[in-house]
Amino acid sequence: MTIDIDAIAHAATDSPRSIAPARRRKNRRSGVIVGIIAYLVTFLIVLPLLWIVLLSFQPSSNILTNPFSLTHLTFDNYLNAANALPLLRMYGNTILIAVVSVTVGTAISFMSAYALTRMVFRRRKAQSSVRYYFLAGLAVPIYILLFPVYRLDLALGIFGTFAALIIPYVAVSIPFNTLLMTGFLREFPAEIEEAAIIDGVGLWRLCWSLVLPLMRPVIATILIFNIVYVFNEFPFASILINNPDMVTVSLAVSRFQGQYTVDYGGMMAAATIVLLPQLIIYAIFQRHVIAGMTVGAVKG
């Protein structure tokens, strides 16, 4: 299910086995050129991030006059940013929202995906209709939901609580979760489950201790995809959260320009503080993150 990128990479060795020496020498030289190009392109792509990090160590006076200088690097911007930013709060809020919405979204999508693929409906048609009903959500851009969801949150009296943001996040994750989970379950034979049922296992234990462990790769993909989405989400958060104590990381970043105005060093330090943990986590789970974010594209 998940695309194990490195495994595929190793399986397809690039070097042909037997070539004449002259051609091999030519290949080696063009290989060096190709390598240089690859490193150059990658450097250009990483450059904006390096620039931000460099500026974050630059005294603010230097940023306007002499941003390339490396002589007066300072840590002050970080001290200022750490004092000015509600770091603990914004990370706490975002993690809380992400954990709750992704857990709930995955759990309930699992339940419905199981019902939509394994359970026997009296009317067969109804089963596939409900599945398409969920999948149709893939075509809905979230921007059309913003205002109605805001009104709905107000009407339900949950505006001003984290639930105002968590429930829409759960809702918009349902189509993608359904796509991946029903896709997996349809390809996966039901025999083990049938045997377990004959042995007298109930629905709860069947799902919890048999089916869920089998679906671990899909679940991992879904968790990663949704966590990245919720962590980076801005439009919903900007409308459904108006209490400064409830800011998410994205919301905090969106206010940097107003907050720091001309303190560019401070702004860049703040940006780096947000950027770095994300990049470190990405570096650790790199293969899973890439697979998790692209599998939907390949599957859908």
């Binding site: 500026l55 913003l146 049938e194 049922i197 320009q257 994300q278």
Partner: protein, 290 residues
């Protein structure tokens, strides 16, 4: 599986998703559709005005400006992004030491929050403090108004979009390349095909589906561009650099013309779907002809 499939159990398993999805996705879409025919300022009762919002949109110069900007971004992004990411996939497939690390670095921008991507690029593109003009200055070129000027912003937005998507598109191409059968390549190499001929006459035709997937994904993503504009220019000056979505956000939440904003949202949804479907139809027709 009949044993566990009593009607109450099925209902219990389906109920949470059905309720949440219907309330927070399906109902809002219908709500937007209905309120796009009203004038509504957030208090009192909406008044029903038929197609007035839609006809007003046709006469709204800012709507046409944002549509044009979105089209420019779409064209620039697709023309550069698709070939570039495909070339990058071919490049990072070669036996280069550390290519796994390179691939991860190239993908990196895709995981950064769009709002942060916007902030980062302010410090590249800003005419006064940006890296780009600083470098140009060192080279003796006069500064260019990459953002906030009269014309260039959509192109700059397209470049930022390309930066954040190129690794993502590259990865999908890369996965597609891995699925090509190796024997076709070997056979053509024995027949004396050069690397370029292999790419042109074998790889690209065999990957038609992957190209279609990447193109559709990028079209949908261009129609979602919002945070980049929000951070780079805020849509200004005077809505010159607005995209469809950022203009809708402005109309709805800054101006609080809810009915008008909903009409705009409906148009964006339909346009996005039409462009994707149109592209798919074009690909199909081409395949039928070939």
């Amino acid at each position: 599986m009949n044993w566990v499939s009593s009607r109450s159990k099925i209902l219990l398993m389906l109920a949470p998703t059905l309720i949440i999805f219907t309330m927070f996705v399906v109902y809002p879409v219908i709500y937007s559709g209905i309120f796009s025919f009203s004038r509504f300022q957030g208090f009192g009762n909406p008044s029903w005005i038929g197609f007035d919002n839609y006809t007003a949109l046709l006469q709204d110069p800012f709507f046409w400006q944002s549509l044009q900007n979105t089209a420019v971004i779409l064209v620039v992004a697709l023309v550069i992004l698709i070939p570039a990411s495909f070339a990058l996939a071919l490049l990072l497939r070669r036996a280069i030491p550390g290519r796994g690390v390179l691939r991860a670095l190239v993908f990196g921008p895709a995981i950064i929050a769009p709002i942060l991507v916007g902030l980062i690029w302010v410090f590249i593109l800003d005419p006064k403090i940006g890296l780009l003009n600083r470098v140009l200055e060192e080279l003796g070129v006069s500064p260019i108004q990459w953002i906030g000027g009269d014309y260039l912003t959509p192109i700059s937005v397209a470049i930022v979009f390309i930066w954040s998507s190129v690794g993502f598109a590259m990865t999908i191409f890369y996965a597609g390349l891995q699925m090509l059968p190796a024997d076709v390549m070997e056979a053509s190499a024995l027949d004396g095909a050069t690397g370029w001929q292999q790419i042109r006459f074998i790889t690209i035709p065999m990957m038609r589906e992957t190209f279609a997937i990447v193109t559709i994904l990028m079209i949908t993503n261009v129609f979602k561009i919002f945070e980049l504009v929000y951070m780079l220019t805020g849509g200004g000056p005077v809505h010159r650099s607005e995209t469809l979505v950022s203009y809708m956000y402005y109309v709805t939440f800054t101006n609080q013309q809810y009915g008008y904003g909903m009409a705009l949202a409906v148009i964006i949804t339909i346009l996005g779907a039409l462009v994707s479907l149109g592209y798919l139809a074009a690909v199909r027709r081409k395949e039928a002809l070939a």
